[in-house]
C-alpha cells in the first residue's frame, strides 16, 4: 500500500503538475484555482454585506461599492460557479465513471485550465488595477460608453475563460460518445455523467454567443464603432438578448452538474437506484434544451415587446417540469431505502430543500405581472442565490466530501464535516431569506445607500453572512488537515456502485489496471453490498 504508485505520487516536481495531461491532476489544478476565486469572490461578498449593515453607505464610497458587487459577480460566476463542478469533480470522475483512461483530448484539457488561469489573470489584473463597475451583466451603453473602469481587461478575461468552458464541454461530449467502457450503454451511465453531458451541450452551444457579444462590446469600447450605441440607431436591448442567450443557460451550466452530484449522493446513501432513472436522465437533457428558449424572461421590463414577454414567460414554466421531476424522484429514492446520515447526504438534503425554495421562487419571477414588481430587486438576488449558492455550492461541497476519500485516499473528519454542513445551512438561510422580504418591499439591487426602513433586514442578512463565512472556512481547514492525518481508506468506503470505486484510492495514473466491463445497470447495489459481508 505505501509504495503503490498513484496519480498523486507519480511525479513530485512542479513541472509534473503544470504540464500534466492526467485529467485527475488537471482536476486538482482546477480545484485549487476555483477555490482561490471562491475566496476572492467571498471577500467581496463580505465587504458588501458589511457595508450594507448601515443605510448611509459609510464604509466605502459608491464607486467602490459598485466595483465590489461587480467583481463579486464576475469572480463567482465566471471563475467559480461555471467551472466549479464540471471542471473539478467532472474532470476527475467523468472519465473514471465511464471506465476510460482519460478524457478524449488530455492536452486540450490542460489548455482549458491554462485558459481559465489566463482569463482569471486578466480579471485579477482588472480588480487590482482599480476594478470594474459595470455589474457582471455589462449592460450597454453603460459598459461601452459611460463606465471609466477596467471594462476591457475584465471582458478579455471572461472571453478567454469562456473558451476554457467551451473546450471542457467539447472534451466531455466527445469523451462520453467515444470512450465508454465495454458494456456501458447510455442508460447504464451514472446520472452524474448524464448531467455533465447535458452541461457540456450548453457550454458548446451557448458560450460562443457570449464570446462574440464580448468581442462586440470590446470593439465598441476600443474603436467606438457602436453596434449597440443608441446614438447611432443601435439597440441596447439587442445586447441584452445576446447576453442572456448565453447567460440564462449558464445558470443551468452551474446547476445541472450539481443535480448530477445529488443524484449520486442520494442513491449511495440510500443504497437504492435513483427512482425514475430514465426520467432523471432525460430531465437533464430537457433542461439543457428548454433552458435555451427562456432567456427573454430577464427582459420583461426592458422594453421588450409584450408578445415576446408572453412567449418567454410561458416557456419558462416548461423548465419547471424537469426540475420538479428531479426533486420528486430524489425524494422518492429515499422511500424504503437504507439511509445513512453521512456528511454528503446532509449536503444533499440541504440541496433539495434550498433548491426547492430557489426553484419555486423562480416560478414567481417567471410570472410577468409579478416580475415587473420584483425584477432588479433583492427578491431576484435571493432567488438566484438560493439556486446557485444553496444549490450549486451545497452540491459542490457534498460531492467534494463524497469523493474526497477517492481523490486523496483519506477520510475527512466526519463530526467536523457535519457541524460545518449545519452551520452553512443555517447561515445560508439567515443570509438570504430576509432578502426575499426586502425585495418584495422594493429594495432595488446594486444599491449602496438605502432607505432606513430596510436596515433591520439587512443587518439580519449580514449576521447570516458571517455565520455562512465561518461555515465555509471550516471545510478548508479540516480537508487540508485530513490530507495528512485523515484515516486511510480502501477502494470503496461508501459501498457505492460507480466504476470509480472499483479502482484504488487514490486511483492509479491510468485509472484502471484493467478496463472494467460493465454488465449491470447503474446503482445496482446487490453487486457491492452482500448482506452480512464486510464492506470496503
Amino acid at each position: 500500500m505505501e509504495t503503490r504508485e498513484h496519480y498523486l505520487n507519480a511525479g513530485h516536481s512542479l513541472k509534473s503538475w503544470l504540464l500534466t495531461k492526467d485529467h485527475k491532476r488537471i482536476a486538482i489544478l482546477y480545484l485549487i484555482t476555483v477555490t482561490i476565486f471562491f475566496f476572492i469572490g467571498g471577500i467581496f461578498a463580505s465587504l458588501i454585506r458589511v457595508e450594507l449593515m448601515t443605510p448611509q453607505g459609510d464604509l466605502v464610497s459608491s464607486e467602490t461599492y459598485n466595483k465590489l458587487f461587480t467583481m463579486h459577480g464576475v469572480a463567482m460566476i465566471f471563475f467559480f460557479l461555471i467551472p466549479s463542478i464540471p471542471a473539478t469533480l467532472g474532470n476527475f470522475f467523468l472519465p473514471m465513471m465511464i471506465g476510460a483512461r482519460d478524457l478524449a483530448f488530455p492536452r486540450v484539457n490542460l489548455l482549458s485550465w491554462y485558459l481559465l488561469v489566463i482569463g482569471g489573470a486578466f480579471a485579477l489584473f482588472a480588480m487590482l488595477a482599480g476594478g470594474v463597475d459595470t455589474g457582471w451583466t455589462f449592460y450597454t451603453p453603460y459598459s461601452t460608453t459611460y463606465s471609466n473602469t477596467w471594462v476591457i481587461a475584465t471582458a478579455l478575461g471572461i472571453f478567454v475563460a469562456g473558451f476554457s468552458s467551451i473546450l471542457t464541454g467539447l472534451n466531455f461530449i466527445v469523451t462520453v460518445h467515444r470512450m465508454r467502457a465495454p458494456g456501458l450503454t447510455w442508460f447504464r451511465m451514472p446520472l452524474f455523467v448524464w448531467a455533465n453531458y447535458a452541461t457540456a451541450v450548453i457550454q458548446v452551444l451557448g458560450t460562443p454567443v457570449v464570446a462574440v457579444t464580448i468581442v462586440l462590446v470590446f470593439c465598441e469600447r476600443v474603436f467606438h464603432i457602436g453596434i449597440f450605441d443608441p446614438a447611432l440607431g443601435g439597440d441596447p436591448v439587442l445586447f441584452q438578448h445576446m447576453f442572456w442567450f448565453y447567460s440564462h443557460p449558464a445558470v443551468y451550466i452551474m446547476v445541472l452538474p450539481a443535480m448530477g452530484v445529488i443524484s449520486e449522493i442520494i442513491s449511495v446513501y440510500s443504497r437504492k437506484p435513483v427512482f425514475g432513472y430514465h426520467f432523471v436522465a432525460f430531465s437533464s437533457m430537457a433542461i439543457a434544451v428548454i433552458g435555451f428558449l427562456v432567456w427573454g424572461h430577464h427582459l420583461f421590463v426592458s422594453t421588450q415587446s409584450v408578445y415576446a414577454g408572453l412567449v418567454f414567460s410561458f416557456l419558462s414554466y416548461f423548465v419547471a417540469i424537469p426540475s420538479a421531476v428531479k426533486v420528486f424522484n430524489w425524494t422518492a429514492t429515499l422511500y424504503k431505502g437504507s439511509i445513512s446520515y453521512a456528511t454528503p447526504m446532509l449536503y444533499a438534503f440541504g440541496f433539495i430543500g434550498l433548491f426547492t425554495i430557489g426553484g419555486l421562487t423562480g416560478l414567481f419571477v417567471a410570472s410577468l405581472g409579478f416580475d415587473v414588481h420584483v425584477t432588479d430587486t433583492y427578491f431576484v438576488v435571493a432567488h438566484f442565490h438560493y439556486v446557485m449558492v444553496g444549490g450549486t455550492i451545497m452540491a459542490f461541497l457534498g460531492g467534494l466530501h463524497y469523493w474526497w476519500p477517492k481523490m486523496t485516499g483519506r477520510m475527512y473528519p466526519e463530526n467536523w464535516a457535519k457541524l460545518s454542513a449545519a452551520i452553512i445551512f443555517i447561515g445560508f438561510n439567515l443570509t438570504f431569506f430576509p432578502q426575499f422580504i426586502l425585495g418584495y418591499l422594493g429594495m432595488p439591487r446594486r444599491y449602496h445607500v438605502y432607505p432606513d426602513e430596510f436596515q433591520v433586514l439587512h443587518v439580519l442578512s449580514t449576521a447570516g453572512a458571517s455565520v455562512l463565512a465561518i461555515g465555509y472556512l471550516f471545510p478548508m481547514v479540516y480537508l487540508m488537515w485530513s490530507l495528512r492525518y485523515g484515516e486511510v481508506v480502501g477502494r470503496n468506503p461508501w459501498g457505492a456502485t460507480g466504476l470509480e470505486w472499483k479502482t484504488q484510492s487514490p486511483p492509479p495514473v491510468h485509472n484502471f489496471d484493467e478496463i472494467p466491463v460493465v454488465t449491470h445497470e447503474a446503482y445496482d447495489y446487490s453487486t457491492v453490498i452482500k448482506e452480512g459481508v464486510e464492506v470496503g
Binding site: 458548446v204 462586440l216 470593439c219 474603436f223 453596434i227
Partner: protein, 221 residues
Amino acid sequence: MAEHAHAESLALREQFDTAEQQKESSTFGMWIFLITEVMFFGGLFLAYTIYRNTYPTVFGMASTSLNAVIGALNTAVLLCSSFTMVMAVRAAQLGKRKAIIVFLILTLLLGLVFLGVKAYEWNEKYVEHHIPGASFHFEGTAQQGPAQLFFSLYFAMTGLHALHMVIGAGILCWLLYHAARGRFTAEYMTPVDIAGLYWHFVDIIWIFLFPLLYLIDRHMK
C-alpha cells in the same frame, strides 16, 4: 504504428484503445468545435439581421458602395481553395505525399490571395472614410448612424472571418511542415482531414457573408 520514429507523438495516444476510436474522436471533436463556431458567427448574423430589418434602405445604400465584382471574385478564390484543400485530403487518403504538399501549397496561396484582396478592400474603405469611428462619413444619406452600423458589422464580420483565415493559414503551414517530413500516411491522416473540415467551414461562413454584405439592393444602382 510504433515502428515509425516520430509516430509516437502523432499516432495512437494512450487514452484510446484503437486508431479507429482515436480518429473518430478527433473528427467528432472538430465537428463540435465547428458547432461552437456556428454559434460564434451566429451572434454576428443575429445583430446583422436585426439592424438590416430596422434600416433596410440604409443597409442597401451602404452595401452598394462595396465592390460586388471584387467580392464575387474573392468568393471564387475561396471556393477554389476549398477545392484544392479537399484534393489535399484526398491525396492524404491515398497516401500520396507529394500531392498533399502541392495541394496544401495551392490552398495556402489561394487563402493568401483572398486575404490580400480583403486587405485591398479594407484600404479602399479607409480611403473613403467608411471605417466606423470619429472620421466616418458616408455620402448620400443623412442617416450616418445606421450607415455606420452597417460598416461596423461589415468590419466585425469580415474581420473575424479573416482572423479565422489567418489561423487556417497557420494550420496549413503546420500541416506542410509535417507533410514534408512524411508523417501523413493513408492510415494516419486525421490532422489533414480535420484541418480540411475547418478550412471548408471558414469557406461556408464566407458563402453567407458575400450575399448578405455585398448584394443588398444591387438592382437599385
